[in-house]
């Protein structure tokens, strides 16, 4: 009896001592989720992964995707791969996959029937290269949102606009009340993203696809796109007093009522939540700028570099499964302000804006986004053009459109 007890006690101590390091595998996960709302969301993923007995080593890289991606890529190409890494699914990791540096997840996907649970289907298509699946989509992010500060419009004494055109008409009243009508931060991707949103909203889905998917340069130089540039000119005038750099600082201007609105993806919602604001009461969102209620199925995905370490490779599978787990999906996406990639999860606690997004998603009004359609090279050229366009009031619309058409002509 006593002998048995001792053995058990001994076994327990051994288990206590060794369970941690022996069973748990450290897996480093790199991502660029560092703003308040994002950090809260990624903590949910870490919690879920740690609960499987492994250990999430957080490799957050500050400074948004533009800064983080070069670091991630050079670590993978330089032979020091992490356990898993975030990318926007689409074409950002295309060449890494083609070079055979990423792990093929097809067998896990077939086993867990990803093709059935992931919705819309286009998400998994963006992860598929040459018939094989290389990434796990974790959320749907759409760019096409206009966030409005109810407080700012109250102060200016005008009713809340219902779409972009009304918003433009309200701009003088906002300016008179000392409010910046539209907040656009100085980071280049913000200007270029806002333009794409205007293209999808003012021009419509077909226009958007004709330019970015078919890469029709003649069409990009034509009158349809001239209309979009006219709208971009309005945006440029409305944004001229924004003196901030980062997107979350720009969102903060809307949160504090210093700016009337911001064109930003639904990740901005996380910031409103962290600030304790309620959708519908403190802020209002207009999907598709109120003109064209379609959402893009861009978003974030995790890619898994090919590793030699057996234990880590096993942990990668566990992580891939955890990321798509219904519970993780709900917890993560509620904090992040994005939409889950599964259609079969309950989002009863979703707020006003997320419900709007879910409704559009349910209607199937989805479209691909530039991350899926254009190479990083083309994206960067666009960013250069639009950050110049937004910062330089004397750049004419004709000149900007001509350069835009040139970029589309050489786009790949």
């Amino acid at each position: 009896m006593r002998y048995k007890f001792l053995t058990a006690a001994f076994a327990a101590t051994v288990a206590l001592n060794f369970a941690g390091p022996a069973a748990a595998t450290d897996l480093e996960v790199t991502h660029w989720w560092t703003s308040g709302g994002e950090a809260a969301a990624v903590a949910e993923l870490a919690k879920a992964f740690d609960a499987t007995g492994n250990h999430w080593v957080d490799g957050a890289i500050a400074g948004s995707g533009g800064t983080a991606r070069p670091i991630m890529i050079s670590r993978i190409t330089g032979g020091d791969p992490m356990g898993a890494t975030q990318f926007n699914h689409g074409r950002q990791a295309e060449e890494l996959v083609q070079a055979g540096l990423m792990r093929d997840l097809t067998d896990i996907a077939t086993k867990d029937k990803w093709t059935e649970v992931v919705r819309p289907k286009s998400l998994l298509d963006s992860c598929t290269i040459g018939g094989k699946i290389y990434c796990v989509p974790v959320n749907i992010h759409s760019w096409q949102w206009l966030w409005l500060s109810n407080e700012a419009f109250q102060k200016a004494g005008v009713p809340l606009p219902k779409d972009w055109n009304e918003f433009v008409a309200d701009a003088p009243a906002l300016e008179k009340a000392g409010i910046i009508p539209l907040a656009v931060g100085g980071q280049p991707w913000q200007a270029s993203g806002a333009f794409d949103v205007l293209m999808a909203a003012v021009g419509g889905t077909d226009t958007f696809l004709k330019v970015y998917k078919d890469k029709d340069a003649k069409f990009a130089a034509g009158p349809e796109i001239a209309k979009v540039f006219k709208a971009a000119d309005d945006a440029r005038k409305m944004a001229k007093n924004t003196n901030v750099q980062d997107w979350n600082q720009a969102t903060n201007l809307v949160i504090t009522g210093k700016a009337g609105g911001q064109i930003m993806g639904d990740w901005a919602q996380g910031e409103f939540q962290v600030a304790g604001k309620t959708a519908g009461k403190d802020y209002t969102c207009l999907p598709g700028l109120g003109l064209n209620e379609v959402i893009a199925t861009g978003g974030d995905a995790f890619y898994f570099p090919l590793l030699k370490d057996e234990a880590k490779s096993k942990a990668q599978v566990v992580l891939a499964e955890t990321l798509l787990d219904p519970k993780t999906q709900v917890a993560f996406n509620l904090k992040k302000g994005s939409l889950p990639v599964r259609g079969d999860v309950d989002l009863g606690t979703a707020n006003d804006c997320m419900k709007k997004g879910l409704a559009i998603l349910a209607k199937g009004a989805v479209m691909p986004w530039t991350d899926q359609l254009l190479s990083q090279d083309t994206q960067k050229q666009k960013e250069d053009l639009f950050s110049e366009f937004f910062a330089k009031p004397d750049m004419t619309l004709e000149e900007a459109q001509k350069r835009f058409a040139d970029i589309i002509a050489s786009a790949d």
Binding site: R69, T77, G186, N243, Q379, D384, S387, E388, A391
Partner: protein, 297 residues
Amino acid sequence: MSNSQRPNQIFRNLNAKIASIPMILTALVVFVGGTAWTVLYSFTNSKLLPRLNFVGLDQYHRLWSTSRWLVSIENLLIYGAISLVFSLVIGFVLAALLDQKIRFEDTFRTIFLYPFALSFIVTGLVWQWLLNPDFGVQRVVRDLGWTSFSFDPLYNSSIVIYGISIAALWQGTGLIMCLMLAGLRGIDEDIWKAARVDGIPMWKTYLFIVIPMMRPVFITTLVIIAAGIVKVYDLVVAQTSGGPGIASEVPAKYVYDYMFFAQNLGQGFAASTMMLLSVVIVIVPWAYLEFGGRKRG
């Protein structure tokens, strides 16, 4: 331990020769090899990963028709002209003033040289705050009562590059001053005495006697400044990250952005080859002037 003399020529200073092998290899493989590799791949259409798929001069055509590159070159020229002229002039004047056998010379020299101990990133951040209209110089002057005062060079596209130059001068002139001071100290005291006996005014002595005698110091200084100009990157990143818009972009930043953000190695290599070319244009005449005359000497 023993000081035995080795008769054979090859084995003379053997230790020194062995010790320098790593450096020779590094120079050949890293500097020459890396440069040749970059130039070679600048003629390919490499994207994220290097690939030997030659496209001729396509990358260069694209480079020279990109407005961001042209803005970068223009900025580099303005920034270069300003740093060159002002750091030489200010550096020399400060050195000449320090050379007047003043009191506390050491203290002044330390003060002027101190900014040089800071990295460009720190310098950039300090000046970004100083030049920020909301809590920098403009705010201080406005708080003193001059409410219409406006000074925001970093937020104005047309003058932003001058704002950046201010920070560069603040950081760099101290070093130039020290080099100049060393040069001035190298001038023989008797020359000053002779000039004084002949009744030549001091400014004339500096301009027509001392400066021509300091030619080697000037050339060295010139090369140091020029190299600093071509590689300017971190200062811009810290102060404006190229903004507003693309108004303060510089070539080195173009290289970095296109190699890593745009995943277009070919384009980045083409841009860096152009930068190398500009360095060669600076270095070759200098090397010719400095070493050309005493070849085989």
